[in-house]
């Protein structure tokens, strides 16, 4: 009975924004939901496996660029920024992106490829903790330098923008906004349940054991680095999907998404929401982004102070995050789990 009520409330909560919010607000909400997907992917790696990556912007951007390349080719046979840089024929690696299936596959393949490239050597050689965090950050910085430098192939620091439309609708069309909202909600729910399922498998237990005491696990005979690589790849794939959803909603992808600031923001959503909880990242991403919108509309000056204190709060005062702290309360457990 209780479960039915929860589901009913959830369905109403999903439909209400479509009816109540203006298109502008609805598309902002969709963007926040995309960020929730990112937060889930960060949480999988950090909350459950104990590996802090400050470079998830790179995976997000790769998914986003794959989608943007497809959308751009739908709008123009030769992207305008290529003309500006004096490139007259479409480069070979751009060509297959005019086909939807290829672009959609690349949304997952590109981030996973980068994750494997980074993860296999690093985890195999036993790089962990702070070392991995800093290398992941440096890799994202390098990626953004590369993308900005290759103006003719990637659109440089402006990124890729100026899409004619998506799915036959012009960008900003009210129907499109609603369709994208629906799509994001479905993907978010799908990824939520997939990650829930994965964490309940044997592998899910192993990665949490890696977080708690990796050495002991190795002595028990597990190849922990394989599990870490798989988790990183899964996380990158989810992040890439989020990136691909982000592009049609916002209408632009640029290297600024790979900035150190952005990738750190991903982590704070998880920290505030509650690491190692399933709902935490979603709650965190929505709350912080909502707070950010309010601040930037009324008190932009103080946002950075507030934001800075959030990081300190998340580590010192509520290390379990919002959801993690609530889960300790009996009434909340009763409502949610019974």
């Amino acid at each position: 009975m209780k479960q039915k009520i929860i589901y009913a409330i959830l369905i109403i909560a999903i439909i209400l924004p479509v009816l109540l919010l203006s298109d502008f607000r609805l598309s902002i909400l969709s963007k926040f939901l995309v960020f929730s997907i990112v937060a889930i992917s960060v949480n999988l790696l950090w909350g459950y496996t104990g590996i802090l990556s400050l470079g998830h912007g790179a995976y997000f951007a790769l998914g986003g660029y794959a989608m943007a390349m497809y959308l751009k080719l739908q709008s123009q046979p030769l992207p305008d920024f290529m003309e500006w840089s004096g490139i007259e024929t479409l480069p070979w690696f751009w060509k297959p992106f005019q086909y939807v299936p290829f672009a959609l596959v690349m949304v997952v393949v590109l981030p996973v490829a980068l994750a494997l490239l980074v993860g296999i050597p690093l985890f195999k050689s036993g790089t962990k903790g702070v070392y991995f965090t800093i290398i992941s950050q440096a890799i994202t910085l390098i990626m953004s330098i590369l993308f900005i430098g290759q103006q003719g192939f990637t659109g440089g620091s402006n990124g890729i923008t100026g899409f004619k439309g998506v799915l036959g609708y012009a960008l900003g069309d009210p129907t499109l906004t609603k369709i994208l909202y629906g799509l994001v909600v479905i993907v978010l729910i799908g990824i939520y349940f997939i990650s829930k399922f994965m964490l309940n498998t044997h592998g899910g237990t192993i990665i949490q054991a890696i977080r708690d005491r990796e050495t002991r696990l190795r002595f028990l005979g597990y190849k922990t680095h394989t599990f870490k690589v798989i988790t990183l790849a899964t996380s990158a794939a989810i992040c890439g999907i989020a990136g691909a959803l982000f592009v049609p909603i916002v209408g632009i992808i640029s290297p600024s998404i790979m900035s150190v600031l952005m990738s750190t923001e991903f982590v704070i959503w998880v920290a505030i929401g509650g690491r190692a909880t399933l709902l935490g990242p979603i709650v965190g991403a929505l709350t912080i982004n909502y707070a950010k919108t309010i601040f930037s509309e009324s008190l932009p000056e103080y946002w950075w102070y507030f934001y800075g204190f959030l990081f300190i709060t998340a580590t010192l005062i509520i290390p379990k995050g919002i959801v993690g702290s609530l889960l300790k309360k009996k009434w909340f457990k009763n409502v949610l789990l019974k």
């Binding site: 950090w46 104990g50 802090l52 400050l54 050597p121 690093l122 050689s125 036993g126 790089t127 903790g129 702070v130 070392y131 965090t133 800093i134 290398i135 950050q137 440096a138 890799i139 910085l141 390098i142 330098i145 590369l146 900005i148 430098g149 005491r213 050495t215 150190v260 750190t264 982590v267 704070i268 920290a271 000056e301 950075w304 102070y305 934001y307 800075g308 204190f309 959030l310 990081f311 300190i312 998340a314 580590t315 010192l316 290390p319």
Partner: protein, 297 residues
Amino acid sequence: MEEFLPFLFNGLSISSILLLTAIGLSIVFGMMGVINFAHGEFIMIGCYSSYIASLVLGSKGTWTALVLAFVLAFALAFAIGYIVERLVIRKLYARPLDSILATWGISLILQQVARNIFGSNNVEAPMPKILNEGLKVSEGITLPFNRLFIIIITILVILLVYIFMYKTPKGRILQAVMQNRAMASCIGINTKKADAFTFSLGCGLAGIAGICISMLGSVGPSTGQNYIIDTFLVVILGGIGGLRGTILAALLIGLCNPFIEYFTTSSMSKVIILSLVLVVLQFKPQGLSPMKDRTID
């Protein structure tokens, strides 16, 4: 030989700046396993110190102002570092990843404070005129005095840190805590005090690095951010075993840089250097000079 001189000098100059910015961070990392993400902002505090000194003593750019700037930078960064350690870092020693996030938050706050006090535009700190000239080695090759000065300051700082860490009783106490915290605590060393001192010292050294950076151009609230990732790479490449690793890593990255840049572009050289760091870490996951340690967690 003549052709190599500019490369070598550039490389040494880059190395010296890397080393100067990394030395404080590396000491803190070696001592407590904490990577201070606000390190860039302590560099920024140093940068602004030379600006403040020029405001106080007139904007002529005299040697007195420079000396005052050095004292001010070290003292200010040391004091703010001490406060930060007391309020935040102290509670996070067992959680290195959390301390990354907390120090990142501190870095954002310090940047905004700088923006509110000094404005978001860059400011220029006047330097003694002679630093803008150069030593003429031959036709077409001039070694700028400010770069030479930075190299000299770096050598001085390294020497002082070395003498302090390895030759004075207080430095030996820090060494002891670094090598075996539990044992040091058992024989009566106040490890908390040692931690607070080390963190503040690291921040103070960042302040000195900031002065040197302010000699190279105008400074702004986000100046520290431009140096921070390279600094991190130096520290993890060096490892936590002490000064030797950090010096080695800074020289390696700094000296490779101009040569690679000569053959490719500056953005490609960053990519290549990161790949080099990754390859080295592949064989030495704990850095070039790891701490000898037989414990398993």
